[in-house]
């Protein structure tokens, strides 16, 4: 466990350093004045000078980078050049929304994907074809488009769910769930189909193994074979896919949160890009990287729990 954690972090620290350094270097290379880009063409020279001061544009980029980095180690990611808010405070208030969304999506992808994949593998025939069609749709339909169609159908045409907005869990769990239903469906469609496809493939593989044949031949019931032995062994590759899906859904929040006006990191990232607000974007980058590390770590751990050979070594 500690070793896994150390490995993951050892892999990610140079990454954060490198990526952020590249961002600072690129910013200094781009012709033109970043302060003018932020403030627009109508800015007065005084405003620009003030922003120069705030962004530290008088210093060479390597020095600015160093300042940012030493701030990072003290939990300080600077201030937004656009609103002047503290980046860490801003991100922390929004982190809950994005984490709730991604967590729900991972759970939905895992449960629905496993059930669908298992059903289609065991039943075959029409069920398998339904999964095929669904997985094509999940691959092809862009999540932001699905999100809009869902709003059009289930929030506007039939008023089942709120079209936009987010309610804190602490405020009202019922409304929290209702505010997340449509975003979760839109964002997890891809995850459900990816997990279902992998589940079906690995369940079919496991059903064809000698040990399942031996269990059958020695009288163990089909339901126990499928629910205990097949599911357990098929889950190992599924967990890997689930990790990949979780990471891609984290990125997907950038496209989907905006449609539902959820006050999460995704909408903030979009807004910050519009505003050329680099400190905020870099901050979100750091937060996302940490989440990706956690996801990969959980996948490694689940792998160890499911596979006795990994556990032993």
């Amino acid at each position: 466990m500690v070793k896994l954690l150390a490995h993951r972090i050892a892999l990610s620290i140079p990454l954060v350093l490198l990526v952020s350094m590249v961002v600072f270097a690129l910013e200094s290379l781009v012709p033109g004045d970043p302060a003018r880009t932020v403030l627009g063409q109508s800015a007065t020279p005084e405003n620009i000078a003030a922003l120069h001061q705030q962004m530290g544009l008088d210093q060479p980029w390597i020095e600015r980078y160093w300042n940012w980095l030493s701030g990072l180690f003290h939990g300080d990611l600077g201030t937004s050049v656009f609103t002047g808010d503290d980046v860490v405070t801003e991100l922390n208030t929004r982190l809950g929304v994005t984490v709730s969304l991604v967590l729900c999506c991972v759970i939905v992808s895992a449960v629905a994907g496993l059930a669908l994949g298992l059903f289609s593998a065991v039943r075959g025939g029409p069920a398998a074809r339904v999964v095929d069609v669904l997985s094509l749709a999940g691959l092809a339909l862009p999540n932001f488009w699905v999100a809009i169609v869902l709003v059009a159908l289930f929030a506007v045409k039939i008023r089942l769910f709120p079209a936009i907005g987010y309610v804190e869990f602490a405020e009202s769990p019922g409304h929290w769930v209702r505010s997340l239903v449509l975003p979760v469906i839109a964002l997890s469609l891809f995850g459900v189909t990816a997990v279902a496809k992998q589940t079906r493939d690995s369940v079919l593989d496991v059903l064809d193994t000698d040990y399942v044949r031996v269990l059958r031949g020695n009288g163990v019931s089909e339901s126990r074979i499928v629910l205990k032995h097949v599911l357990r062994n098929a889950a190992i590759p599924v967990v890997t896919v689930l990790g990949v899906v979780a990471v891609s859904m984290l990125g997907g929040t950038v496209f989907v949160e905006g449609v539902f006006v959820l006050p999460g990191l995704g909408t903030l990232a979009t807004q910050a890009t519009m505003d050329h607000d680099l400190p905020v974007i870099l901050g979100i980058g750091v937060y996302f990287t940490v989440v990706v590390i956690i996801i990969n770590l959980l996948v490694d751990l689940a792998y160890g729990v499911l596979n006795p050979k990994v556990r032993a070594s």
């Binding site: 892999l11 990610s12 140079p14 990454l15 990526v19 961002v23 690129l26 781009v30 880009t37 094509l136 691959l139 092809a140 339909l141 862009p142 932001f144 488009w145 809009i148 169609v149 709003v151 506007v156 064809d208 193994t209 000698d210 040990y211 044949r213 031996v214 269990l215 059958r216 031949g217 020695n218 009288g219 163990v220 126990r224 032995h229 357990r232 990471v247 990125g251 950038v254 905006g258 449609v259 990232a269 979009t270 910050a272 890009t273 050329h276 607000d277 680099l278 974007i281 870099l282 979100i284 980058g285 996302f288 990287t289 590390i293 990969n296 499911l306 596979n307 006795p308 050979k309 032993a312």
Partner: protein, 642 residues
């Protein structure tokens, strides 16, 4: 170095891959669609019916009509023209990303795989790191720095996405390095660059195309997503994502506007994705062994119920009659043809033949455990007076474990790797006895002791990968014995084991059989095991029983040329210092079975009439049948043998 292998022999010319993709229906449709889409978007200024920015205020939000094929948006702009023009930036973005991907990934992957060592380690470490980058945030940073330049974002996306392709190319290069023709090219003094570009790169082509088209699908998704967030070309420039955003703002009044951009994006993404799948399938086929000529042929009509000898002694436990098994599918095949034999209670019957003769399939048919696409087409398997076909799951479960049980060839593969030995045995105990908890645990220990496992407590706590093959087979036997079966089907139970362990397992089986009065159907190709264990032998060849006899008769006077050839080729019957007299040729595959005698092509007694029509089984004496019309000639040569 006297001879250098011809370095120009390379697998699969590039035209082969392209042609195979284009001739498959899915491939043809997808390639045609993509070509059409790219062409239409490229020629948009010429073929689009309207200027994409022209506002037709008289026809705002009109649905599809004769003058506006896909309708218009809320400013009266023609949607078809906007889709065509918007495609230019989307597809161009994909092209940029793909070019960046290929330029970064292919050289890095090739040299990492081909050179190996430190270069490889560093490259793969960097690739692993890049794979955990939150890509989308980097793209947003790039867009922010480069003032919404989609080109820089797509190039960044290509670079960040290169780890996947790099790994695949590296794998292929690693494999290519081991190939003879690459070594030969090196010996001939070609430079590193020449070897890589001429010999290694072509090998990677298939996997590269798969990765690139799947990546193109993802890149298109990202490109449209970014334009949806209006982070690309500023409005009113037409973009696919931007059109979805336009539609989103007015879907209350007009939902139709969502359809043209949504369907276009979905179809384009799908086309790239399916193209990747098709190329992968084609590639897999090309790399698989060259498929045998697939002749479609009907099954030979079974020559009526042949004579099957009644069991030699005791009460009949299992009786297989005229059993035929077919594999359904595109080319239906007969796998077992008119198989028949009997097993009496307590008897051990050997099922003998080369690989591919249908022994395992027969054993699986008896258990009702045929592979998914196979079924019993005709004939009967009767266990203790009741036919097993048509039994429902529940009735089958009454039989399996409690009355018929099985052990398989690979003891390691026969144990579920995720559970401890104790829990696996307990699973079967639970199934056959219905007992749980302490009772089940006691029975597990009893069974493990019965198969002479020295320290049952310790073994029960281990996982299958922590015990030896011989131990695993003992565990498998313990699982099979849990239900005190009357018939044990043992499919090559000792083939995968060391010689000394083989003897131990056979001894164990023999003593267990005596104690429990259990019949055994022993699938094997080892005559030593037959002589050691069996009372009766059933010889199979190409899906048919060719001879049935009691064990002494078989060794003294084989009544089928195949049996004789098998016996002669056995290492036990080869005098020391001589070559093993292997039977020339191989067992024909089911699609190549001749209509006459299936062994004729390998038989030294074959006559023209052997190949004319299906050969029926003939009873030659009590308890003996043979499927040979030259049996008299055979027995004569056996008698006159010195």
């Amino acid at each position: 170095m006297t001879t250098v292998p011809e370095p120009t022999t390379r697998p699969a010319a590039s035209t082969g891959l392209v042609r195979s993709v284009l001739t498959s229906p899915r491939g043809a449709i997808v390639v045609a669609f993509l070509a059409l889409l790219i062409l239409a978007c490229a020629l948009a200024p010429l073929i689009a019916p309207y200027d994409p920015l022209a506002q037709h205020l008289s026809a705002v939000r009109s649905g599809p009509s004769g003058s506006y094929w896909l309708g218009t948006d809320s400013l009266g702009r023609d949607l078809l023209s906007r889709v065509l023009h918007g495609g230019r930036s989307s597809l161009f973005g994909v092209l940029e990303a793909v070019l960046a991907l290929v330029i970064v990934a292919v050289p890095c992957g090739l040299f990492a795989g081909y050179l190996g060592g430190t270069v490889d380690r560093i490259t793969m470490r960097v690739a692993e790191m890049v794979m955990s980058v939150p890509v989308i945030i980097i793209l947003l940073a790039v867009l922010s720095i480069f003032d919404h330049s989609m080109t820089s974002a797509m190039i960044a996306f290509g670079v960040l996405g290169s780890a996947g392709l790099m790994r695949v190319v590296r794998g292929a290069a690693l494999a290519a390095r081991e190939e003879l023709y690459v070594t030969a090219a090196e010996l001939m003094g070609l430079s590193l660059l020449q070897v890589v570009t001429r010999h290694v790169l072509p090998r990677c082509r298939g996997v590269m195309i798969v990765q690139v088209s799947l990546f193109a699908a993802v890149a298109l998704g990202v490109q449209t997503g970014l334009t949806f967030l209006s982070l690309g070309p500023p409005p009113p420039a037409p973009t696919w994502g931007g059109m979805v955003a336009d539609a989103a703002s007015v879907f209350n009044q007009d939902a139709w506007m969502l359809v043209p951009p949504g369907v276009t994006i979905a179809l384009a993404v799908l086309a790239f994705g399916v193209l990747g799948d098709v190329v992968r399938d084609v590639n897999a086929e090309q790399h698989a062994a060259a498929p045998a000529s697939r002749r479609r042929r009907g099954t030979d009509a079974p020559p009526g119920p042949g004579p099957v000898e009644p069991a030699l002694s005791g009460d009949l436990l299992l009786s297989v009659r005229n059993l035929s098994v077919t594999a359904d599918g595109e080319h239906p095949l007969t796998l077992l043809d008119d198989v028949g034999f009997d097993i009496a209670a307590g008897e051990t019957v050997g099922l003998v033949g080369e690989s591919g003769s249908g022994k395992t399939m027969t054993a699986r048919a008896v258990m009702g455990l045929l592979p998914r696409n196979c079924r019993i087409a005709s004939g009967q398997v009767v266990f203790d007076g009741r036919p097993i076909q048509g039994l429902d799951r529940r009735a089958f479960r009454e039989l399996r474990g409690r009355r018929i049980a099985m052990i398989s060839q690979e003891p390691m593969a026969a144990l579920d790797p995720s559970f401890r030995i104790g829990s696996l045995v307990a699973e079967v105990v639970r199934a056959v006895d219905g007992s749980t908890g302490k009772v089940a645990r006691a029975r597990v220990m009893e069974l493990l002791r019965m198969v002479e496992i020295p320290d049952p407590d310790a073994v029960a706590r281990r996982f299958p990968h922590q015990i030896s093959g011989g131990m695993a087979q003992r565990v498998a036997i313990a699982m099979a014995l849990a239900g005190r079966p009357e018939l044990l089907i043992a499919d090559e139970p000792t083939t995968a084991l060391d010689v000394t362990v083989q003897a131990e397992i056979l001894d164990l089986l023999r003593s267990l059989q005596r104690e429990n009065h259990m019949a055994i159907l022993l699938v094997t190709h080892n005559w030593g095991v037959v002589a050691d264990m069996c009372t009766k032998v059933v010889v199979m060849y190409a899906g048919q029983v060719v001879e049935t006899a009691c064990v002494d008769d078989v060794f003294d006077t084989p009544a089928h040329p195949y049996t004789r050839a098998l016996l002669r080729s056995s290492p036990n019957n080869t005098p020391p210092g001589e070559r093993i007299r292997a039977i020339p040729g191989t067992v024909p595959s089911p699609q190549d079975w001749p209509s006459g005698c299936r062994f004729a092509s390998r038989c030294d007694l074959a006559r023209p009439e052997c190949g004319q029509e299906p050969i029926a089984v003939e009873r030659i004496s009590t308890g003996r049948v043979s499927r040979c019309i030259r049996v008299d000639a055979l027995l004569e040569t056996e008698v006159s043998r010195p």
